[in-house]
């Protein structure tokens, strides 16, 4: 077993043990924190597919996070107010079923990622960063100025949506659900990283010219990675909105894009489990430092500087050493 695998197991065990302990000690707030960490980790794992495996520095992943959130908000809003989403040409009702909401969140994110990716991937480097940011800002300002779903104030949902067989309003049950989704996403991305597609995508990150010389088109690889990445981040957005029972344009803001990127960088770019460590650390810092000072972001910033300057591989680089190429 490599050190990275060992670290993955420890990390996932801690993320499970903390809320379970909190549950037995009747500390629902800690469970909620852990749930937040698990959900944000999913967003980071999603971004990592584009950023870590494909080398695509997307600074607009909040758009998928927010679209996932609004998919939840809008569907649940219509279901809870008993108003159809649309009536012509056919009637679509809202829903409070999480699986349906997740599918919609993923579907909307896939479409958005296809459109944004198809255009953005014609550029590279800093232009790619700026154009993804620009797309996210467009959607952000649209959400602010669109009054139908709360505009700037956002949209509240009174009861958390349901999942068959679970009481999602019970913190530990909702945590378990999110943890399960995270585990499934991690399994999928681990497999993807080692699959034919993953090998070719990582080669396209390192040397696009080489990929062309062996008969493949980098653009298609990038676009596919971008779409998968957006879909995963969109799913986490739906979970996040359901956790808060609230969705607002904040989820679409560039701060959110930055936060998701911080999870990836803190944990270790390209490490499949890296964003889990990054998101957990972020939540921990937010909680601990946030208690000390309202300006806790200063410390976060200093830490990020430290990681970028001295520990390029993030937490995983520090604890698990250089990435081992796996056969």
């Amino acid at each position: 077993m490599t050190r990275e695998t060992a670290l993955n197991i420890v990390l996932m065990a801690v993320l499970l043990a903390v809320p379970l302990a909190a549950w037995s000690l009747d500390e629902p707030f800690v469970i909620t924190l852990a749930t937040r960490a698990a959900i944000l980790a999913i967003a980071g794992v999603g971004l990592n597919v584009a950023l870590g495996l494909g080398g695509l520095v997307s600074f607009g992943h909040a758009v998928f996070f927010g679209l996932g959130g609004y998919a939840m908000g809008i569907l649940a809003h219509h279901a809870q107010t008993y108003t159809p989403l649309m009536t012509a040409p056919f009637t679509i009702d809202g829903t409070t079923s999480m699986p349906v909401i997740w599918l919609v969140a993923i579907g909307v994110s896939v479409l958005a990622a296809l459109a944004i990716g198809a255009l953005s991937l014609r550029t590279t480097g800093v232009y790619f960063i700026m154009i993804t940011l620009a797309f996210a800002q467009m959607v952000y300002y649209f959400a602010i100025s669109w009054p139908a779903y709360g505009g700037e104030d956002g949209l509240s949902v009174y009861v958390r949506n349901g999942f068959p067989g679970l009481n999602t309003m019970d913190p530990i049950q909702y945590f378990s659900l999110c943890y399960g989704v995270l585990a499934l996403v991690l399994l999928g991305v681990s497999r993807l990283a080692r699959s034919p597609f993953g090998l070719m995508l990582q080669a396209a990150r390192q040397d696009p010219e080489r990929v062309e010389a062996i008969g493949q088109t980098p653009y298609r690889l990038y676009l596919t990675a971008f779409v998968i990445s957006g879909a995963i981040t969109g799913l986490s957005g739906a979970l996040f909105a359901d956790l808060n029972r609230f969705v607002s344009p904040t989820m679409l803001s560039w701060h959110m894009s930055g936060e998701i990127m911080i999870f990836v960088i803190l944990g270790g770019v390209g490490r499949v489990f890296g964003p889990v460590a990054g998101a957990a650390l972020f939540i921990l810092l937010e909680h601990l430092l946030g208690g000390l000072s309202a300006y806790w972001h200063v410390y976060l910033g200093a830490m990020l500087l430290g990681v970028v300057l001295f520990a390029r591989g993030g937490l995983y680089g520090l604890l698990a050493g250089r990435e081992v190429a796996h056969d």
Partner: protein
């Protein structure tokens, strides 16, 4: 005469006022090594880029096994059988040697958009990759990270990746650059045998290698081919001697 495997037909390319390729025609026949030599700045890289697909010629055509590939992108030409090695190693440096070779085999096989089964367990790809590494003498380095290879070993890996493509034509841009004497000799012996599998268009600075290996040599000077012929013909050509070989001792 049999159809050439690769033909460059009247290719011209200019950048602003600079004519990098001036009405170049050359062909590569089955079973031969055709070397392209010329002083620095003669336009060898520009010509290679037009053959491989990175650059579009202003006029003229590129034919691959009788098929006009002038308008096709690089990836398409590679799939049709153009196996290229780069002047500056173009490999995935974070991958192992074996992964780079498997990458080539995968690119050639296609069916890349598979997301679940581990690629390094696909026995058809592995056996092709390992065979290619064996042939260039890198088999024992299969688990080494490519970035940790010596310069010469990277050149060998370049050739191995080209082998996994099972190309119909090899396009080799200075495969011996930076190799030690022993490695150079080994690679020469290997290329010598390789020409029977697919013809090689060889851009090379190492004159000993060129004159020892090549069936025919074309000399490119200021974007123009001034002579094409066998090693003896090129040695005897007064124009070649004056513009190119004059300064050096002729082998």
């Amino acid at each position: 005469m049999t159809e050439p495997a690769l033909a460059v037909d009247g290719v011209t390319k200019s950048f602003g006022g600079l004519i990098a390729s001036k009405d170049i025609s050359l062909d590569l026949r089955p079973g031969e090594i055709h070397a392209l030599i010329g002083p620095n700045g003669a336009g060898k890289s520009t010509l290679i880029a037009q053959i491989a697909g990175g650059l579009r010629p202003d006029t003229g055509r590129i034919w691959l096994e009788g098929r006009d590939v002038t308008g096709l992108p690089t990836a398409e030409r590679a799939r049709l059988g153009m196996g290229r090695t780069f002047q500056i190693s173009s490999l995935a440096m974070e991958f192992t040697v074996l992964q780079n070779a498997v990458l080539g085999a995968l690119g050639q096989r296609g069916r890349v958009f598979r997301f679940w089964r581990p690629v390094m367990r696909e026995s058809d790809l592995l056996s092709r990759a390992e065979a290619a590494l064996e042939q260039v003498g890198l088999a024992e380095f299969r688990a080494v990270r490519t970035g940790d290879l010596s310069h010469g070993q990277r050149r060998q890996l370049e050739v191995a990746v080209a082998l996994t493509l099972e190309p119909h034509v090899f396009l080799m841009d200075e495969p011996m650059a930076g190799l030690g004497a022993e490695a150079s000799r080994q690679l020469m012996g290997f290329l010598d045998r390789l020409r029977d599998r697919a013809p090689i268009l060889l851009v090379e600075h190492d004159m000993d290698a060129v004159f020892a290996l090549a069936d025919r040599i074309s000399v490119l000077v200021y974007g123009e081919i001034i002579a094409t012929g066998t090693a003896d013909e090129i040695r005897a050509d007064p124009r070649v001697r004056s513009v190119y070989l004059g300064a050096e001792s002729t082998p």
